[in-house]
């Protein structure tokens, strides 16, 4: 036991006293994710809602439509009475966002819409799809036209746009449960990847692991000490990234995500979340440590771990598609179970049995990995292969 504690203390000292490692592994991921997603959110919302105005030239503006367009402030509409080609040239070189030509007797023709001889009217529009402003002006304009068309030929409506019975909480959790598990797995994995190869393959490469192996401390204690301490550090890194992600979600989704609040989860949900994350990290660190022990250098270890990362991403994706699990036995599959249980927690529909099976399975597999790592520490072929 003393050996385990000594190893854990050493790993913590190695990590927490090294300011560079602390910043790059724990602080930066969370902050970066938060900043990047927030920036992305504000850029996207700037595109959608922005205050920019688009110059639109309209020929033969019908009287019936002109009040409708005046309510759309982004469209600066001017009457066009010149040559079509001039306006087209202006749209092409970006001075004008959009050029529209209505048929001359638009209103009169619409008034006769029930006449059997009525022919669909043609409105001509010129825009530049390579120019963002022009595209947006085009969409806005077409939107107004569609609304008008609907209003004059109105046969039925969905009253008030329908009544959504979902609470804000369930909408939010539906979105979260689709996205979060995969992202969470990836973040946890990258946290583990940042510390485990360095601590196992790195120590082997530098010859410092061998120094520990000549002391009477048990190999199994070294393995447990390493996996426990590395898991704690990886978990911190994962939690940091995860917080960055969750906190930036409202900024990223802007208006589209109004119902979002972290308060919809109970304290129990958060504890379950933490439990799943810890057991998953134990497992991932175990796998990465064993793979790293096989490698001769940190570089080699990283190249071995790369493909594992892809597997984790695929498993995370699978769980998003799979939806509710058919059999509780599926919760015994490591990594996949973590993704599913996170989905369940986010969807506010986690079953205690599934949670217990997940924890049990992850911890048992992590235990097996500790055993395997111990065997590897004992093997001179693996520890001293030059």
């Amino acid at each position: 036991m003393k050996g385990i504690i000594a190893i854990i203390k050493k790993e913590f000292a190695r990590f927490f006293l090294d300011r560079r490692m602390l910043i790059t592994t724990i602080l930066l991921p969370g902050i970066l994710i938060y900043v990047v997603y927030t920036l992305m959110g504000s850029v996207v919302s700037g595109l959608v809602s922005g205050d920019s105005q688009y110059a639109v030239a309209v020929k033969n503006m019908p009287q019936s439509l002109s009040p409708l367009f005046s309510t759309v402030q982004q469209l600066q509409i001017t009457d066009a009475d010149g040559n079509d080609d001039d306006y087209k040239a202006q749209v092409e070189d970006g001075r004008l966002a959009l050029y529209v030509v209505f048929p001359e007797d638009f209103d009169e023709a619409i008034a006769d819409k029930n006449d059997p001889a009525f022919q669909t009217l043609q409105i001509e529009m010129w825009y530049n799809s390579a120019d963002e402003n022009s595209s947006l002006a085009y969409s806005l304009f077409v939107g107004v036209l569609d609304a008008y068309e609907e209003s004059i030929a109105n046969l039925f409506d969905v009253k008030d746009g329908g009544y959504d019975l979902a609470s804000d909480a369930s909408v939010t959790s539906y979105i979260l449960s689709a996205v979060v598990p995969m992202v969470l797995l990836v973040l946890l994995f990258s946290g583990c990847m940042a510390v485990a190869p360095e601590s196992i393959a790195g120590e082997k490469e530098r010859g410092t692991l061998a120094t520990m192996l000549v002391t009477p401390v048990k190999r199994s204690h070294i393995a447990i000490g390493k996996i426990v301490s590395l898991s704690c550090i990886s978990l911190l890194s994962g939690v940091s990234s995860f917080l960055g992600l969750i906190l930036s979600l409202p900024n990223l989704m802007q208006g589209a995500f109004d119902g979002f609040s972290l308060s919809m989860f109970s304290v129990g949900d958060y504890f379950m979340m933490l439990g799943v994350m810890l057991s998953t990290v134990l497992l991932l660190v175990g796998v990465i440590s064993c793979v790293s022990a096989l490698a001769k250098s940190v570089k080699e270890a990283s190249s071995y771990v790369g493909p594992l990362n892809i597997i984790v991403i695929v498993v995370g994706l699978l769980s998003s598609f799979a939806g509710g699990a058919a059999s509780p036995l599926l919760y015994l599959i490591p990594v996949y179970n973590s993704a599913m249980i996170v989905t369940d927690i986010m969807a506010l529909s986690v079953s205690p049995l599934a949670f217990a099976l997940t924890m049990l399975s992850n911890i048992v597999v992590a235990g097996l990995l500790v055993f395997l790592l111990t065997r590897m520490f004992n093997s001179e072929k693996i520890m001293f292969n030059k």
């Binding site: 003393k2 050996g3 504690i5 203390k9 000292a13 061998a210 002391t215 009477p216 520890m383």
Partner: protein
């Protein structure tokens, strides 16, 4: 006489990869690094293992330190088998070799404490030993400096101190003066003699003949994994100096082999 180390028919073979076979220009898939080696070391003596590079010295010492296991044969340290009771052997020995490194990130003070903890040494005992050893080697001034920032000589002194952190009665030194300047080398050899004076048993591997002549009580000459000579240093050097004795044995071996 009190036998501390008894090596019995120790044998170790290494498999050569195809690449290694090509490099060494040989068809042999297996090389024998240590071949039926037997010798003993008595309490309170410095036993020298002398041999050219690749003779099997380091492999022998690594087996004694339980880092690798012999293919056959066994060795007993204070009666404990290196094969069956490696844990007991580990807690009774000190091992200094170039391939065991200390983490550059830590300070001598931290490392001493860490390894003391791994050996389960009490804090009081640890602190007094640390004070004594650090001042003996002048490490005290650098106790809180990261290893990465220390000179080669100072690093070797720290390694030396850490290797005897558990105050072992049986110490294995693999080329302890390699790469050191004469002053630092002297501190190391003085320390070996001091340990001997305390009644400790030391196994020393080296290819420096003068070192063996100066400090060893007995010496074994290893060539190609086999013991070519074993006697007290005074008996070995009765007629010629050790270097000439070695050349004679080596020439005889080569002659015999051809």
């Amino acid at each position: 006489m009190d036998i501390v180390l008894s090596v019995q028919n120790l044998k170790k073979q290494f498999r050569l990869s195809y690449k290694q076979q090509k490099l060494q220009n040989t068809d042999k898939k297996v090389i024998t690094a240590v071949d039926n080696l037997s010798f003993t070391a008595n309490r309170g003596e410095i036993f020298g293992l002398l041999g050219p590079n690749g003779a099997g010295k380091t492999t022998t010492l690594r087996m004694l330190a339980t880092l690798i296991t012999p293919d056959s044969g066994d060795a007993f340290v204070e009666g404990y088998s290196i094969v069956k009771e490696p844990d007991k052997v580990r807690s009774r020995i000190g091992f200094l070799t170039g391939e065991l490194k200390l983490e550059d990130f830590f300070t001598p003070n931290y490392l001493f404490n860490f390894f003391s903890e791994l050996y389960g040494i009490e804090e009081g005992v640890r602190n007094s030993r640390k004070r004594e050893l650090f001042s003996r080697f002048g490490i005290d001034r650098f106790a809180e400096v990261k290893l990465a920032n220390l000179s080669t000589g100072m690093k070797q002194k720290v390694s030396l101190v850490i290797s005897v952190v558990n105050d072992p009665d049986f110490i294995i030194f693999d080329e302890p003066t390699n790469g050191l300047d004469v002053l630092t080398a002297k501190t190391v050899t003085d320390f070996l003699l001091e340990l001997k004076a305390q009644g400790k048993t030391i196994i020393l591997s080296t290819h420096i003949f003068s070192l063996v002549e100066k400090i060893c009580d007995r010496a074994g000459i290893i060539i190609d994994g086999r013991l070519a000579a074993l006697d007290t240093v005074s008996a070995l050097t009765a007629q010629k100096n050790l270097e000439d004795v070695f050349f004679d044995i080596y020439a005889a071996r080569q002659g015999g082999a051809q």
